[in-house]
Subunit: 580 residues, 2 copies
């Protein structure tokens, strides 16, 4: 078989890697307080693979032979474990379904093309056969962008791009790199770093997601303030369609009608298979620093981020956690790292003397990149704003820690699942004037959902990805689930999503739509907007062979379902902010 | 009638305003040298309006009555002069056709809706009638985005948005303003400035173009380095479609599938009528300065702009003219302004002593905005780069002059037309590594075309609109035409456009596509890209009522026509730059 790496079939990351709390003394008490869970109870691990009921392969022998002839024996598989790994992404619904042996439909064959010409042949063969094509990158999606539709009667081909993982060329004078779509984050950065370059795109899924997946789902990385969202970073691309390749040459900007580039970005496989992307790359900066700050309250932290965005400063990261997430971050430290021990005690006494309520305190990270003198200039600009809003700098220690463990959080979810708690994330973006309302409404919606379910739940938040006109709010929520965790999860998740819409936020800032967010598309981009997009999909793929049901799924929220969500989770009582 | 302002039916700008050379002593000798034209010969003014043959109105009485009932008697017109003003934009082809009484097809009625609901009713009435709708903003387009198709047998409604010219609301905390699509540049800036804000969007057409037009054609303004292209500035919008409004709420960023916002931007009326746009606005900066610099050569200027884009500096304008355009700029100065008289003589002797060839010297403008200390910091960063590339700062004088007269250039075209010379502009964008090749190939293509035509021609260029990965090159060309100026113009224009494509540039950076650039769409975004876009247009407008023939026109370049253009204007002999 090919040497393409895959995550665990039942959870995040590589086999043998997981979350451990034994070296984090404050973690167990924190979780006990937050969701009432005793993490020292013996875990119940997921079922073993042979306990799964894997649907049989539905594939005509001639089509299978044709695909094998294209990619070779080594690069095609109908093995159960391979097909199961390619069935879901890594949302909590995905993990719960796998753990409960709910896999109604899986791909019938997984193929690993070795070059673009093989992709073209696979696509053309599938179209001739009337088979469904689901492109697969790292499998990290958490919006349901990968799952086959239940009840799909046609053959399903999972087209895994994992072998297309090379940086093909760097145009050093233009700061552009041609990279194959199946390259994962570490593949890309290693190949670029070796020549002094970086792409600067670091989503939380970085270690296990691919360039093609980032483009297909409109990803954004934690340094987007400097490097841009993937839509900004993507300058050119190649996408295989039936019988032809759409080729968009790399251009800094162009005025050629509606943007085909921006039609393909976010298309989640519905228009074709992205094989190659030309991205902006930057010389690795002389200095890169993540500084930590404390703010006395969430409001103060939010106001400071707003003022930084409005100022002449241009940091690479702006991030502030609410008091709950700040407490969580401090509780997941190892005993000896970060703002720790004696130093922390001293700092806390100082803040108390200043009149801070330490329960309200918020942790912030701001990133700086450039020449040493530029970093120093930026820090001065930001420092003055932090001070104006009552904040205080606490140095590089916590920032360095954040930098090291930033990709570890997804492992925590499997740890909690083993112990009967469901945790997931929902994120949105909104104009600055609406962020407080989105925050209040979302917390109220989650709490109302927890109350309705009779569960001990938790929700926390950080602001990240600042723009001129607004920012992203990223929520993490968890609760100890009952016998039907998926139904309970859906109540919480849907309440949160509806709160986003009602308060002026979008259904997702950077996780894509999939099937999970599709019900809010009409509310988000209007009925007329959905019709334009549907027209594009239908004209490009009249037979519905390309990852059908994603982005514009069969399920749109109805007036009744929206009303029910609103009734269940009434909006927080917040001051009316004039619409822009 | 309504008080909506229009430009001259035969040329640029307002009646009574024009270009004068009497106070510019170096202008006449410059033009004599450049294109062999004696500007002191008596001008031949354009024909008078009553010499035009205006096609009759093709409109059913019932449809006319319906439209009049929607907007009122005052806001509908079938008068010849009104219809002619709404026929063309202001390209050289447009001006030549008007001057030669070539107006085969004009709109049959012009309506001026007073609000969005009237737009909706007009659209619905036209769709019911099977009439063509051409949205009209300021009428400044130079790519043929407005003209009715010759041979159009259906009724044509010109939908003039001029009465929708208000800033509706400013969300000061988010830096967002809701503005009606028919607002012209000065309308917008006056209303915003009164409250301390600016949109920062200043295309050359600023004084006569509208927000809706900017969005519909993917405009870019001269301060785009700081404020972004219109695609970046546009955060939300409303567009009227048959029976419904597409509403995109203002969001800083979103992950909702293919971008409907980016489908509408650049759509040139083919998807519907944009009525309202929510744009990013910025507080007016404390300091705004345009500094002038001289570089010893074009290559040095280009290299400096590249290094600025790669550096930590972030100026609001980066612009450098080639030696020819630098000479032109100096020749259009009034005798007493700018780098003038004695001071200039002293400077020139200094530069000569430094070994500069003054014939090769290039003029550059760099803009700075922000607090006083930030402007000073930025100037220091840029100053060091300029010096490294052998450039020299010459202060604020020429920059202030540039700022004052930046919107006057289009008047020069009418002045030259009165004297038998045709002048126009073509602009492109390309990665940094390809700019020199685009420049060389374009100059060679124009010169080859002039030679083939046996005319004395001229072409000059500036770089503007810098991005991380490339920049815009903006060419101005002129020649004394013969008896068939349109045919001659087409030879030159098409040679230039083909050179852009062949050297790695795009068909336009910010002028849109219209019918003029449509033949290069397949070369620019590939055949597959054109098909995706065509599918969008066809699904959104199956009857072809919305500004038909624009962006994807009837005429695509054929392999034969491309080969002919390449043969006529062989590529410059430049070093091969490795593709990214």
């Amino acid at each position: 078989m090919t040497d393409v790496k895959h995550m665990k079939w039942w959870g995040w990351g590589l086999e043998g890697v997981g979350f451990h709390f034994e070296d984090k003394p404050e973690f167990a008490p924190f979780v006990k307080k937050a969701v009432g869970l005793d993490v020292s109870v013996p875990p119940v691990p997921p079922l073993s693979f042979d306990q799964l009921t894997v649907p049989p392969v539905r594939l005509s022998p001639s089509f299978e032979a044709e695909l094998v002839a294209i990619v070779g024996e080594e690069a095609a598989s109908t093995a159960d474990e391979v097909r199961v790994v390619h069935t879901y992404g890594k949302s909590i619904r995905d993990l719960l379904r796998i753990r409960r042996n709910e896999i109604a439909r899986v791909p019938d064959i997984v193929v690993y093309p070795g070059d673009e010409w093989e992709v073209q042949q696979i696509v053309d063969a599938a179209v001739a056969e009337g088979a469904v094509i689901i492109p697969f990158g790292g499998g990290s999606n958490i919006a349901g962008s990968l799952e086959p539709l239940v009840g799909e009667t046609r053959s399903i081909v999972s087209l895994d791009l994992g072998r297309l993982n090379r940086v093909l060329a760097i145009d050093e004078y233009s700061g552009l790199a041609r990279i194959q779509a199946g390259a994962q984050g570490p593949d890309i950065e290693e190949q670029l770093n070796a020549k002094g370059w970086t792409m600067g795109h670091f989503p939380d899924s970085f270690t296990h997601s691919t360039l093609g997946g980032w483009v297909a789902t409109r990803s954004s990385g934690m340094q987007s303030d400097k490097y841009g969202d993937i839509a900004d970073i993507t300058r050119g691309l190649r996408m295989v369609r039936p019988g032809e390749i759409v080729e968009l040459r790399p251009l800094p900007s162009t005025s050629t009608g509606p943007s085909v580039r921006e039609m393909i970005i976010g298309s989640e496989g519905r228009l074709g298979v992205i094989t190659e992307v030309t991205v902006q790359v930057h010389r690795q900066p002389e200095v890169r620093e993540v500084q930590a700050y404390f703010f006395p309250t969430w409001k103060a932290g939010l106001a400071a981020m707003h003022e930084i965005a409005e100022s002449d400063a241009s940091p690479s990261i702006t991030r502030v956690s609410d008091a709950r997430e700040s407490g969580f971050s401090l509780a997941t430290r190892k005993a000896s790292k970060g703002v720790s021990g004696a130093a922390q005690s001293v700092l806390m006494s100082v803040l108390k003397r200043r009149g801070w309520n330490l329960e309200e305190m918020c942790l912030s990270f701001i990133g700086y990149e450039g020449t040493a003198s530029h970093v120093s200039y930026e820090k001065k600009l930001v420092g003055a704003i932090v001070k104006k809003h009552g904040g205080i700098g606490v140095g590089k220690g916590p920032g360095a820690l954040y930098d090291q463990k930033k990709f570890d959080t997804p492992y925590l979810r499997d740890f909690l699942l083993d112990r009967g708690a469901a945790a997931d994330v929902s994120e949105t973006a909104a104009p600055w004037s609406k962020l407080q309302e989105v925050y209040d409404a979302t917390r109220a919606a989650a709490d109302a959902a927890y109350e309705a379910l009779g569960v001990h739940g938790w929700i926390m938040c950080h602001l990240s990805h600042s723009y001129h006109s607004g920012a992203c709010l990223y929520f993490t929520f968890a609760f100890v689930h009952g016998d039907d965790p998926i139904a309970q999860y859906e109540v919480v998740k849907q309440s949160i999503q509806q709160a986003f819409q009602d308060a002026g936020g979008t259904l997702s800032h950077h996780h894509g739509v999939g099937v999970e967010h599709a019900p809010w598309m009409e509310q988000d981009i209007s009925v007329g907007g959905v019709k334009l997009m549907q027209g594009l999909f239908d004209s490009a793929d009249p037979a519905g062979l390309f990852n059908p049901g994603k982005v514009l799924g069969p399920a749109q929220a109805t007036p009744e379902s929206v009303a029910a969500l609103r009734a269940a989770a009434p909006r927080a009582d917040v001051a009316e902010v004039p619409a822009p």
